[in-house]
Amino acid sequence: MQLPLSLRVALLALFSNKLRAALTMLGVVIGVAAVVSLMSIGRGAQAQITEQVQSLGTNLLFITPGQQRQQGNVRSGAGGAQTLSWSDAQAIQDELGGNLLTAVVAERQIGGAQLIASGQNLQTRVIGVSPGYDSVRNYPVAAGSFITDTHMEQRARVIVLGSGVTQKLFGDGDPLDQNVRVSTSGRTGAQMRVIGVLEPKGGSLQNLDDQAFVPFTTVGARLAPSRTPQAAEMVSSITVSVADEKLIDDAIQQISSLIRQRHRVAEDDFVISSQRDFLQSLNQITALFTAFLGAIAGISLVVGGIGIMNIMLVSVTERTREIGIRKAVGARARDILSQFLVEAVVVSLAGGLTGIGVGIGISRLVSQLDLGGRAIPSIVAPDAALLAFTVSAAVGLFFGIYPAMRAARLNPIEALRYE
């Protein structure tokens, strides 16, 4: 019995009980749709994160304060409680700037700052940065300008706003040259003039539009809780841009030895991480996450398969007499086997195709949802759809084989006598 014919027989059997076929299919539809949509959303998130990280360039190094050993009589290095200081950044720039490093910028985050302007009140992150931070970290300025060396020297009371902050404080109005009052815990606050607005960036890890930048020196002078000269020097991270990606390992080594020398420590009190490492581990995490989502969705596909098996077993019992007739008129065991197998595979493949469609629909829908200004991107990966399709065919085969074998093994005499 050639395939097109057994296909026709299977379709006939399915169409004779449409509701049941549809319900059986539904299990597979849900399973495949779940796999496809979750994988698409996972892939989308992964791509977005990767793109964000990559937009900074893969030749960046981040130097952050490391763990400090206070036990025994290990001395803490220069910089007091925080191990990295502005002078470290200066030293890196002076010693290694030029050929090896194209840019060195420092930043200091102030948590829980409050911005007040035009009667609006906003709790957000304020970061003190050195000039050039915008280009190193890829924050294009939409209007106005970024912080300059002059602002640094003057500890100027100027501020550059992220697009989200601008929107919340000024709405559609022009924020340039407006005053924003920035207050932090422990300081009464200072009026700052808006000199620039950044382009929207979005962000999956943290919202990069909900922050504001001030000159690094301004933080020490006007915003930081402690006013000691040491405290004013503290940086929360130094970002350096390496001239060439190939020089990254070299740069890490030279910066490490420089800081070690300056801090006079045996054990590193700082951590240097490269954008490359970051990207790698990030990719690992998101890939794991996507696979995990897919696996959970895969479970529902198995449940759908069990549904097929269940219905096929019922169908074999119901059609015992039919099987008897077919055997009496000359059907061999393999004819009966292929008939029921084709039926199971048709159900699961039809369910798989529908599921792919539904899954694509769901992921499109989700990516259009606006979740507080942030969209969940989705990428329908053809390989995920192909995988789901193949898996659903395999599910049909796997869960169809047992009922089909039972049908094929039926004794024609008993099958004919079956009431």
């Binding site: 019995m1 007739i325 061999r332 004919l416």
Partner: protein
């Protein structure tokens, strides 16, 4: 002439019956010495009865034995059956329930294999065939007509008839199926499903399905079992017509003696043996019975 031939086989069956009584297994071994007699006799009889001069019986059963194991008990359903059926015969296998007639029909229909003994169908030794080969024999040599006709639900008449052709891998199935339906006078109902057909039309579709492969024999298993008198007679008329006009060999299993009386030879089975094999003295003509029945309202 036909009477003569039939009584010859009766004698054989009786003789075998006596032998088998002592030991059913011996029967199956001994037959090799005895069958010379009927085959020796048959040619003349056959030649006389069948103008085409077919010498070999189309069905040839020797010492056919079937033992079922039910738990620890052996049930002897058949205890050595010898039977010859020649082309063009129309015979009824009769017997009460438990007589082994259903088992015999399963053996003849190649639905089951005997425990011992041999069965030759149209020159094919069936006892050595595997399941797939048996399926092929059923497909090509035997046309089944079941009780209630056993049509597939929700499948059109023409597709019912196509079924054996499908498993035979035959081309132009549609054409042949339609021809078979036409032959039975239901060509105009080809697209109808069983639920849209009258009882009589269902009978005809079932017979068309049995005939479409041009089988060696037609096996009818209690075909009138659930039918009223009129439908029974209509079916029997159809079978008589086919036998008489097309010379098709028909083996009919029934427990109704008035149905058996429509055939030309009755083989009675009891306790797994053939106890009586006789020609029907006066064959009941279904057409005559139908004429005498009050017309359907």
């Amino acid at each position: 002439m036909h009477l003569l031939h039939s009584s010859a086989t009766t004698v054989l069956a009786d003789a075998k019956g006596g032998e088998v009584d002592a030991s059913p297994l011996d029967g199956s071994q001994n037959w090799s010495s005895t069958p010379v007699e009927p085959t020796g006799n048959s040619p003349e009889l056959e030649g006389a009865h069948h103008p085409d001069g077919a010498a070999q019986p189309v069905l040839r059963l020797r010492g056919l034995t079937k033992v079922y194991h039910v738990g620890d008990v052996d049930v002897h359903a058949l205890r050595g059956v010898d039977l010859d059926v020649y082309t063009g015969e129309f015979l009824a296998i009769m017997g009460p329930s438990g007589s082994g007639k259903s088992t015999l029909m399963n053996m003849i229909g190649c639905l089951d294999q005997p425990t011992a003994g041999t069965y030759e169908l149209d020159g094919i030794q069936t006892s050595q065939l595997n399941e797939d080969q048996l399926a092929a024999v059923r497909n090509r040599k035997i046309g089944f007509v079941f009780q209630m006709f056993n049509l597939l639900p929700r499948v059109s008449a023409v597709e019912q008839v196509e079924l054996p052709l499908i498993y035979a891998g035959v081309k132009d199935r549609r054409k042949r199926a339609l021809a078979a339906l036409d032959r039975l006078g239901v060509g105009n109902r080809a697209r109808h499903k069983p639920s849209e057909l009258s009882g009589g039309q269902q009978q005809r579709v079932a017979i068309a399905r049995a005939l479409v492969m041009e089988p060696t024999i037609i096996m009818a298993d209690e075909p009138t079992g659930n039918l009223d008198t009129r439908s029974s007679e209509e079916l029997m008329e159809l079978l008589q017509e086919l036998n008489r006009e097309s010379g098709i060999t028909i083996v009919l299993v029934t427990h109704e003696s008035d149905i058996a009386a429509h055939t030309r030879r009755v083989v009675e089975v009891r306790d797994g043996r053939v106890v009586n094999d006789r020609a029907v003295g006066s064959v009941i003509e279904a057409s005559a019975v139908l004429a005498s029945l009050p017309p359907p309202e």
